[in-house]
Amino acid sequence: MPKITVPLGPQHPALKEPGSFLLCLEGEQIVDATLRLGYNHRGVEKAAESRNYIQAMYLIERVCGICSHAHATAYVMNVEELAGADVPKRAKAIRVIIGELERLHSHLLWLGVAAHEIGFDTLFMYSWRDREMVMDALETISGNRVHYSMNTPGGVRRDITAEQVKTVLAKVEALERRIKYYIDLATQEPTVIARTKGVGVLPKDEAVKRCAAGPLARASGVARDVRKDDPYLLYGELDFKLITSDACDVFGRLYVRAFEMLESCKILKQVLNWLPEGAISVKIPVKLPPGQAVNRYEAPRGEDVHYLKSDGGLNPARVKVRAPTLANFTSVDYMLKGDQLADAAIIIAAIDPCFSCTDRATIVTPAGTGIMSWRDMRSHGIEFYKKKGIDFSKVKVF
């Protein structure tokens, strides 16, 4: 059978953001897949270097629309580490509350998107309707639905009142009942099982080799979660389970995310019922002492790594963001191989990709190549055109 190459993307209705997947097909079966990223490069890291620490925080928050709190918190933890600030416990608790509400909203959003990709639009509509409860809870606490802007270097910007605790608790409890229903629905409905079981298989050893992160790794049986491995904020003191699955397929990823939502509800109830008293922020100097800091944060999609370097000035000297999707993309080509073309959309969607979080400029210099200076490039150009019979050496540039 002849092999044909079908491009999926850069612009494709199945993809929520641009990204290019070249699928080599033999009939309906995918035999090879190539991935190309870089359609969403925004230069966030460079832009952060021209802003002060407070301005850069709002910029970093906008790296991702779904896990905005994850990025902002990881960045702010770096700033606090450099400043040597002792963040109040109440601020940490509020960060955990927003972080877990964000996880709930991200996973419900993913459940809807995944249901839509497999053609189960009823589940998509219902899960997104109930996601509104989380969005309302976030709006009550922070003021806005998507960019909460709760963080500030040294703590959080807004306190949670006793009344808000009650509202949010009621919402979390209502949501927990709905999530239990969705778990029943998604794990027992034959259409969901037929479209997800045995699709996009990523064995455990392959997941470890390809450095998978977050729910993708946990669905392949790799018990890896920053909240457990390297507890930040208050996670060390909270009681919650690490959800893993040995299914290694899309169904496993669905299972992990669904049960993680229940764990998030459990964490939320613990923290909301036990909010430490005290201040919500401490002062941080405008200029940070020179140094470097690295912090990890378990974003809804996986491990989020942030690096910050300060040279003692007003602005950060270097900001580096490693979004979890970048770690997960390396597994996509493996998962696509051997599956049907019709399953490509759900396999890509199953890692919960966030293309624009991921795109960073990378300079690749393979063996035999190097970086040229302006003068070298000029003489190289003159030589190149001399061979073609054009002499540019008399043209003055420098």
Partner: protein, 139 residues
């Protein structure tokens, strides 16, 4: 264990419920108490410290002094009274990201966040939110 038609009960239930979506343009939306939208500026309160301008992530705020000729006055008893500086402000709504960092940073509470969120305009000039000092308007 697979159980067909699992969602049927929920679907039938929802057939007889009101729509979950809000009827927005017909029914006005009331945002949360802490909602951040259009920023209001009170020129009389401003002392020109520029903290808001320095910390604005989108460079959306411009605050200018309108009475540059104002000089410190010396009272008959030798005391020097600093010049009463007056300011006007322009907030570029097309640049503003509504984080309300300026509201948090203002030491005199001259900036306030309101819940006006219907800010779309046909004219780009309408997005330049100008707050004149009352003395300037009187002239």
């Amino acid at each position: 264990m697979a159980r067909p038609l699992k969602a049927l009960g929920e679907v039938l239930n929802n057939l007889f419920k009101k729509p979950a979506t809000s009827q927005y343009p017909v029914k006005k939306h009331t945002p949360a108490e802490r909602y951040r939208a259009r920023i209001k500026f009170t020129p009389e309160e401003c002392i020109g410290c520029n903290i808001c301008m320095r910390n604005c992530p989108a460079n959306a705020i411009t605050i200018k002094q309108i009475n540059l000729e104002a000089k410190p006055q010396t009272l008959p008893d030798g005391k020097v009274v600093p010049a009463k500086r007056k300011f006007k402000c322009v907030i570029d709504l097309s640049r503003c990201i509504y984080c309300a960092q300026c509201v948090d940073g203002c030491p005199k509470k001259a900036l306030k966040s309101t819940d006006e969120f219907e800010l779309a305009a046909f004219d780009k000039k309408a997005l330049q939110d100008e707050f004149k000092h009352p003395d300037e308007t009187a002239k």
